[in-house]
Symmetry: C2
Subunit: 318 residues, 2 copies
């Protein structure tokens, strides 16, 4: 008896060819009637085939000058920040990292299907270690002007925003009428905790999304980047107590041994990662393959992808 | 310095009143112009206020005759099955539970942002313990006729289906043109692993969703129910290796001490849980409160909810 399982990897089989059906999305990308005799139907490539065939230019290295390494006992969490969509907040976080503010940081909160959150405990009665006086408030960057960075629109409609898509391999959304864009709260997104005052999120308390995308936070928090590697080190942590997932006792908190900018780490110790560029034909092909799975296992292609279900391939640099 | 955090609970503050704006959803539910003099604006209730004020009839107990208790060392996972949407598969699972087929079951796979999956290892060379000969195949129940159960439509548009909504407090979707309905792959959904043959999912290998809703599985797997309590016991397990999250060594697998139907457990040992009915005005109010958060912390109400982001409150019976 074989091991039954639901699939994750794509095996490159041809559901479309087997059934004779074609989805609207596939039809839309089919070439117009060729002037030359029709070629035999080409096998629709799998995601791994697409990635293996991609040119080197379809990938980009992580920006080490904007990448944070957060070291847990279980391993390294690699967070790439996106200064184009939160310039002042990203700059503040990088400054805090470089002034060693995060020494003594711990994961203080893990709420199931929501977030893992970390900060530096203060000396009582301060719950959090104070940041320098001139860094205590920071104007909110819940969105930025729509022209702040090139935006690759996802054709699939989004419930939370007029448009969803990608900015430099980060999931994002855009409101053309309002002229604004922002990073979306997808799995792995990193955002800035704050009090009720929108200017209270100074970057000293951060969280990563570890559950179904809490998109209702879009426009309410400054999202600064994405965990590119090691999100499972946060998502598999023990959950804190209800209702917010705060660890009740300091002893439950998970130590963060170090927080460093990748650019400050000796080259030999860096995580040499590349992320697939989202503004490439390669990525468009990946999305199409994921919208309509064509391997033998699938009998019903979704014909749709949502911004937080779109894969963002990361690989170790070759 | 207070502890900055992103909120989960609703505190009942009045974002709408504070800003003078009203969302379409709120306007739609406002009463028509009253014949009597206008009352002072009523405070928009929070989710907890809505739940506290709900009549007993807004809740229903879990159906113990269709509820499975899966005991891990860390606690009990409570899975409520929905026979209306997968009658033959649910019956097969209940039969397997009652014949003690699941003795020796283990979690074999935990893939980050996807699923935790369990089954009973077989005696080599069988990877899985065989089920009785007459139970080895079972017709797929990827969807059922749209009239199989009452459906409460969510007004918010869905990307994956013509309609999303709820069946008896389970997230679901419906295609009126095709006359079909099905349970959706939301966080906590429980489905039936299978091989390529759609009839190979006999209920002996099950999984729970522990990540962003893999809605592309809708229509490809028989979903049988939902984890009503204890999903965090599965979602916080160590992840297995790439690419599928299978634990490499048998020693890594997580034992399931027992699998029982709640109805077969002495009353004193049962989890006496109730779930909020999704076909009630109470639940409509909860959804409205979640679509447009009105507490002080929020500055941007989403105006939208997606089927897998809608809360499904569960409480211990009073």
């Amino acid at each position: 008896m074989t091991d039954r399982k639901i699939p994750w990897t794509i095996h490159g089989a041809l559901w479309l060819a087997m059934t004779g059906l074609a989805s609207a999305a596939t039809t839309a990308t089919a070439p117009a009637a060729p002037a030359t005799p029709a070629q035999p139907a080409k096998a629709t490539p799998s995601v791994s085939e697409i990635l293996n065939a991609a040119p080197a230019s379809a990938w980009r290295p992580l920006a080490d000058e904007h990448t944070v390494y957060m070291q847990l006992a279980a391993g390294r969490v690699v967070i790439e920040l996106e200064p184009a969509l939160a310039p002042h907040t990203v700059a503040a976080i990088e400054k805090l990292v470089r002034m060693h503010y995060f020494e003594g940081a711990v994961v203080v909160r893990v709420q199931d299907n929501y977030v893992a959150q970390w900060s530096v405990p203060g000396t009582p009665p301060d719950e959090s270690k104070p940041v320098p006086a001139d860094m205590r408030t920071l104007a909110a960057e819940f969105s930025v002007p729509a022209g702040a960075a090139p935006f690759t629109v996802l054709p699939d409609r989004d419930g939370f925003a007029p448009e969803s898509g990608f900015v430099d391999s980060f999931p994002a959304a855009r409101d053309p009428a309002a002229g604004r864009m922002w990073l979306t709260h997808c799995y792995g997104a990193v955002g800035v905790g704050r009090d009720n005052d929108p200017a209270s999120g100074n970057g000293s308390e951060l969280y990563a999304v570890i559950g179904h995308a809490p998109r209702h936070l879009d426009g309410n928090v400054t999202v600064v980047g994405r965990v590119r590697q090691g999100i499972e080190l946060l998502s598999s942590l023990p959950r804190g107590g209800p209702p917010m997932g705060m660890y009740a006792a300091p002893s439950e908190r998970v130590p963060i041994a170090s927080t460093r900018m990748a650019a400050d780490v000796p080259a030999a110790e860096r995580s040499h990662l590349e992320v697939l560029r989202t503004d490439t034909p390669t990525y468009a092909a990946v999305l199409d393959a994921r919208r309509n799975r064509r391997d033998d296992w699938y009998v019903h292609p979704a014909g749709y992808i949502d911004i937080c279900n779109a894969p963002l391939p990361v690989r170790t640099m070759r």
